[in-house]
């Protein structure tokens, strides 16, 4: 995050325009505190102050220039009335700040009346907006208590017992896990953990955790934990081959393909690994008439038709 001495013009100038009024208002702050607040090295700060010292107003006589004094471990700036207020936030800075603040505020369990809530409120007032009305970031929903248990498991490195609804398999199961981290992706929260039952790393969607219980057993986080890929097909997983209409081509971008081949009729023939039958059934249901099964493991070729028939039975 530290800024090299010769970095962008705008960055250095904007930092100075923010730093000068602050130093003036603090009336001789510690040099070390200025460095920490404005994310600069002592060398960079000295270089910046060397420039400020040459800035002022006509006729640029010594009494019309900004006065900079570094004395002991403190820095003083005087006669900088022209820069007594920082420069306004640009739209880029405003949206970056409000997005970050609103996102974290929207995470289940953040106290809306805590320091962040108050800070975002003041920022919004400064921008003349109602933060809830103008910008919303959805990082995912979760039961506050469940998420709190998961976060505690992660930070205390304690095992968790999960009652979990597996969407891919359409089954509910009980398992013990070593929780590595909670992450959000595409507006869903996930727990990355080592699953004792599967004896492998797994991703659990937090809103499908029916309940989570903190256990007393601790664990050690292995290196590389939490770097779990989204979907890694196993060599032993059954394969299925589909013909996709152009309307179904998004599938190729979305899932790992073993092979893709353009057919003379404009359809694409793809082969992919299937980790769970329910997953393939859902895919075929959503693709509907835009896909047809060419070949595959015996239990898979009828997955779509079978699932469709089961659903249609409800409508009979």
């Amino acid at each position: 995050m530290s800024t090299p001495a010769n970095s962008g013009a705008a960055q250095r100038m904007q930092r100075l325009l923010a730093m000068v009024p602050w130093i003036v208002a603090q009336d001789g702050p510690l040099t070390a505190e200025v460095c920490a607040r404005f994310d600069v090295s002592p060398e960079q700060l000295a270089a910046d102050l060397g420039v400020i010292w040459l800035v002022g107003l006509p006729p640029y006589t010594p009494d019309a220039l900004i006065d900079v004094v570094q004395e002991g471990d403190r820095v003083h700036i005087r006669f900088a009335d022209v820069f007594n207020q920082p420069h306004r936030l640009t739209p880029e800075q405003a949206v970056a700040l409000l997005t970050a603040g609103s996102s974290v505020l929207a995470l289940p369990g953040t106290d809306p009346d805590g320091p962040l809530g108050r800070g975002v409120g003041k920022l919004a007032a400064l921008l003349g907006v109602d933060a809830d009305q103008v910008l919303e970031v959805d990082l995912g929903a979760a039961e506050v208590e469940t998420l709190a248990v998961l976060r505690r498991g992660v930070s205390e490195q304690r095992q968790l017992h999960l009652d979990y609804y597996s969407f891919a398999r359409d089954t509910r199961s009980q398992r013990n896990v070593n929780p590595y981290l909670v992450e959000t992706q595409d507006s869903s929260l996930y727990l990355l953990a080592y699953c004792h039952q599967a004896q492998a790393d797994r991703r659990f969607r937090v809103d499908r955790i029916v309940s989570a219980t903190l256990l007393d057993d601790t664990f050690v986080v292995p290196t590389g934990a939490g770097e779990l890929g989204l979907f890694e097909p196993d060599a032993t997983d059954p394969r299925v081959t589909l013909d996709l209409e152009p309307a179904a081509a998004w599938v190729i971008e979305t899932y790992p393909m073993e092979s893709v081949e353009m057919r003379p009729d404009g359809r694409q023939r793809v082969t992919l690994a299937v980790t769970a039958e329910a997953w393939l059934a859902r895919l075929l249901l959503v693709l509907g008439p835009h896909a047809s099964v060419v070949s595959g493991a015996p239990e898979l070729v009828d997955a779509g038709r079978r699932a469709a028939a089961q659903i249609l039975a409800r409508y009979a």
């Binding site: 420039v51 306004r88 739209p91 970050a100 974290v104 970031v137 507006s187 809103d207 409508y315």
Partner: protein, 306 residues
């Protein structure tokens, strides 16, 4: 940037901020560290103005009063330049710093903004306990935010049509940015995906519009983000996903909780194919109860699976 150039830019900013009347280019050339050669001065001055504008510093070009022959001069209006002190306390600054460390928008650093608000303050916590992948940027995001905040209408090209929009609200949902606003072409409130806006959004320069109704329906699920004729779909969800549905949709959408644990919910739909995909994701745990139109559409779709 050399220190000499930085010094000149700061002196230029100070001169124009302090000026009660606009300062002519000629005076700027004499007062500040610019070349004597007129052509060289103009080139350097143009670059400097551009840099200030890129930083968002407002430069006004106005006639210099009582000048003869009439000349234009430059000024930075303090009321447009200066940031009012938001009065953030140490713990509020620390919380904001923690938030901007955890959630970033690609290519848009919040740090320069944070410096203006009082600088970087380390707080008690070092992370928020949730890892958040950086949010994707969009070339129109900042411009639209400025328009939303200032309630200024914008023109943009979307869906092969030029539209004028009163932008109400930005939302980040499932990896994408959306805008909700009043579409003067359709004469209705619509949702727009930022990634589908063609080219750049431009403020029309028109009058500020009145604040949107606070009851404004928020952009939400994929089936609410279309622009088809809206209908209310009634859906029954049973089995393991019923509990999820109860939590997810909350009491205002849930019409009934049956003895077998299944729930009936009403959902507004204006994107029928997205709604169909959502219903099908429940396999045989869900059934569309009404309207008949959506029920029949789903049955037709399922019969087409070969």
């Amino acid at each position: 940037m050399s220190s000499r150039k930085l010094e000149r830019l700061l002196n230029l900013t100070a001169l124009l901020l302090d000026a009660r009347v606009p300062v002519s280019a000629e005076k700027i050339q004499t007062e500040l560290d610019y070349p004597d050669d007129l052509a060289a001065f103009r080139r350097a001055f143009e670059r400097d103005k551009e840099e200030l504008r890129d930083m968002g510093i407002p430069l006004r070009l106005e006639p210099v009063p009582a000048s003869f022959p009439a000349v234009d001069g430059y000024r930075i209006p303090r009321e447009e330049y200066a940031l009012r002190d938001p009065g953030l306390t140490i713990d509020e600054l620390a919380a904001l710093h923690l938030a901007v460390s955890a959630v970033q928008v690609e290519g848009l650093s919040a740090i320069p903004g944070l410096l203006k608000l009082g600088g970087i303050v380390a707080g008690v916590g070092s992370d928020i306990g949730v890892r958040v992948a950086p949010l994707p940027a969009d070339p129109n995001l900042a411009c639209l935010f400025a328009a939303v905040a200032g309630r200024r209408p914008v023109s943009m090209r979307y869906g092969d049509q030029d539209r004028v929009i009163d932008p109400y609200r930005l939302e980040f949902l499932r990896g994408r940015w959306y805008l909700t606003g009043y579409d003067h072409l359709r004469e209705d409130v619509r949702n727009f995906r930022l990634g589908r806006i063609e080219g750049r959004v431009v403020p029309t320069g028109g009058e500020a519009f009145a604040a949107a109704e606070p009851s404004l329906e928020q952009a939400g699920a994929a089936w609410e983000l279309g622009d088809e004729e809206p209908v209310v779909a009634r859906l029954r969800i049973g089995g393991p996903p019923a509990q999820w549905a109860l939590q997810h949709f909350g009491s205002d959408r849930v019409v009934e909780v049956a003895e077998d644990g299944s729930v009936v919910i009403d959902l507004p739909v204006n994107h029928r194919s997205a709604f169909r995909s959502f219903v099908l994701s429940f396999l045989d745990h869900a059934e569309i109860l009404s309207p008949a139109e959506l029920r029949e559409d789903l049955m037709r779709w399922l019969r087409g699976i070969t």
